[in-house]
Subunit: 442 residues, 2 copies
Amino acid sequence: MNTADSGLPVTVPSTALFTDQYELTMLQAALRSGTAERRSVFEVFTRRLPEGRRYGVVGGTGRVLDAVENFRFEERELDFLRERSIVDGPTLEWLADYRFRGDIRGYPEGEVYFPGSPVMRVEGSFAECVLLETVILSILNHDSAVAAAASRMAVAAGDRPLMEMGARRTHELAAVAASRAAYVGGFSTTSDLAAGFRYGIPTVGTSAHAFTLLHDHERDAFVAQVDSLGSGTTLLVDTYDVTEAVRSAVEVAGTELGAVRIDSGDLLLIAHRVRQQLDELGAKQTKIVVTSDLDEYAIASLAAAPVDAYGVGTQLVTGSGHPTCSMVYKLVARAGSDEPGAPLHPVAKKSMGGKSTVGGAKWAARPVDADGVAEAEVVGTGPVPGGLSGRLLQTELVRGGEVVAREPLDAARDRHRAALSRLPMSARQLSRGEPVLPTEHV
Amino acid sequence: MNTADSGLPVTVPSTALFTDQYELTMLQAALRSGTAERRSVFEVFTRRLPEGRRYGVVGGTGRVLDAVENFRFEERELDFLRERSIVDGPTLEWLADYRFRGDIRGYPEGEVYFPGSPVMRVEGSFAECVLLETVILSILNHDSAVAAAASRMAVAAGDRPLMEMGARRTHELAAVAASRAAYVGGFSTTSDLAAGFRYGIPTVGTSAHAFTLLHDHERDAFVAQVDSLGSGTTLLVDTYDVTEAVRSAVEVAGTELGAVRIDSGDLLLIAHRVRQQLDELGAKQTKIVVTSDLDEYAIASLAAAPVDAYGVGTQLVTGSGHPTCSMVYKLVARAGSDEPGAPLHPVAKKSMGGKSTVGGAKWAARPVDADGVAEAEVVGTGPVPGGLSGRLLQTELVRGGEVVAREPLDAARDRHRAALSRLPMSARQLSRGEPVLPTEHV
């Protein structure tokens, strides 16, 4: 029986193998050369936003904290590494005792970021920090990509609620994380029961075309659904003829019909026609839900249409054209020896080929103008200028290996809304452009 | 403690909540209306390939079989559904006894597919089949997208091995499935230890820039790595100056140095220079590995360069521009009553808005010409013409709820290579074009 395909484990599994092999071979070599215990600072950042995007959204921080906490090498992970001869005996012994005992600071979840923003900073011995690269990047790169797409869709949708419906378009567990990131970015609900189970996100869903096709007549399907789910349900009206279906829907459910769903065709045109028909039938409170290959642009194009809610799938879970962020995890400073208190030296890749980095552990601050609107993303090393100390963006997430920043998912969602509201108005434009704040290195 | 973020569970967890809520509400309504037991056929297919792609690759079949087998509603799933009032009491009772007892046929993993190919056919009662929609689509849409990208990269790489290194660019468990799909599509190895652990895929990896930066001098890092991993290791040579690094690498490891890795810059130019330098230093057997933002086009552009292996990350796990397939799961036939033996009627969505479907359970065959080259993807309902009966593509996967088609991953990998070799040569062109086989409906 194969088990690892599925999720929702019933005991706490290790996250330690969500790791690229080179992290363990570097550990082995560093243990041998005596450099493993050098105090080190790794930083997570991106060199750029996806082309045309005006801001990024930090998603997945909460999941990173869980992953770090569960990053332990248990017997079966060690057996695997031993049997495959991936690392030597001394390294296996070191791994058996491993737990992260360092410090992590970072942008809290839901915060926005820009090129060069030090989204996360991991500090400890080289050995304990280097192991976390892959799992931290996996989570932040995936979840932030979805959160950013969700945020743009939420901007486009305005006050209308967004439903996440993309589980079928992505890996089954990526889907659960995507629901979570979508919620942070501004979605209200999800169709994914696993996301409801795991994160408490409200779940929604009523019926598909298959249910109508199962019955001999569309009306039979509507009767069955209303009998079972009540007249407040949402009836899907585009299996055959929409006008027929809407008439039938109101006949069956009465004017208290909750909503009708349109899943194909020219949504703008059909929504107007359906609204008119519903009103004429007296179903003035019946809502219209649309759900067909929407992205932020399609949502925006329906702003003037009589639509009450949007369901979004593919384009949400694939980051609306940008399914991953380009966050990297780089060593930016380290001690010259493993003496306690040895000073940290900035380090950076310097080859002419590209991918250069800026050495030194960084702080970031976002000063605001007199109206409270953010003016710049200021990133620096060394002392923080006095005027910026109240505008620092990183918070303490892990102290001495203990997670100190757990929070409910709604806190991240609220934080994102607040952060977005403090950006210049042009952040809310969907059109391609430069990052809405310049990153200033000081 | 949160647990569901991680993978590698130690007991067999249920896959039953990888489900969109509407599947359960349809079940509830169908149970109530007496239509739940109508024998039904659902089919998985795509209406189109990603723009410009010439073939699709079936990935994830083996994972689907595991997911179907583990699709059970245990106490905690039922508690969740009860507490949230997602379905009513009779539905909860029905779910408690649920296991899929129907039949599944489909294209075996690694096979290629085209628009309209009936990639999978699920047959049983409406109730038992409708529940599987989301989990089947999640797996096939994700894994097939990665397998298709991997296949194109393998075509571009020719005989040179491909290493999968994308874990950090996608969800941590999607990464494990991506490694698996990449292997089916033609990759040889992965950096992802969880993929090695879970699927036995060979793992690789030696060191990153951080390891060089950890040491006071690049040479110290090389010495440490060679001391620990032997002279057959791969040294990363682009942290500072590549020419300096190559000289230093051969000094430290000798001419038996296994390989050097280049991770940035103009790979074509640098590979030529490094090859010449290695040869001049007598390290004629030392291989060159390149790993910087490669996709199938970049790989092809390096065909004439002295490169021995490619490492691919982002573009692989994101499907090289197409991170999901557009596979759908549609009811195509169902009985008119729940009488045993009641005939199946074809059904199809028919609204003018789009997303129409073709009713009826389908077979598919791929006839070949005198040279054994495939000529068309023939898809039909009803009896199979005699000349095609030896060319049928679907195989039996699940019979009466029992999985009958487990196979080692290498079988799928070999099948893919064989299927690709039987397509017209134009399948191997990377340029945009039409599907290499026309789909003929008969």
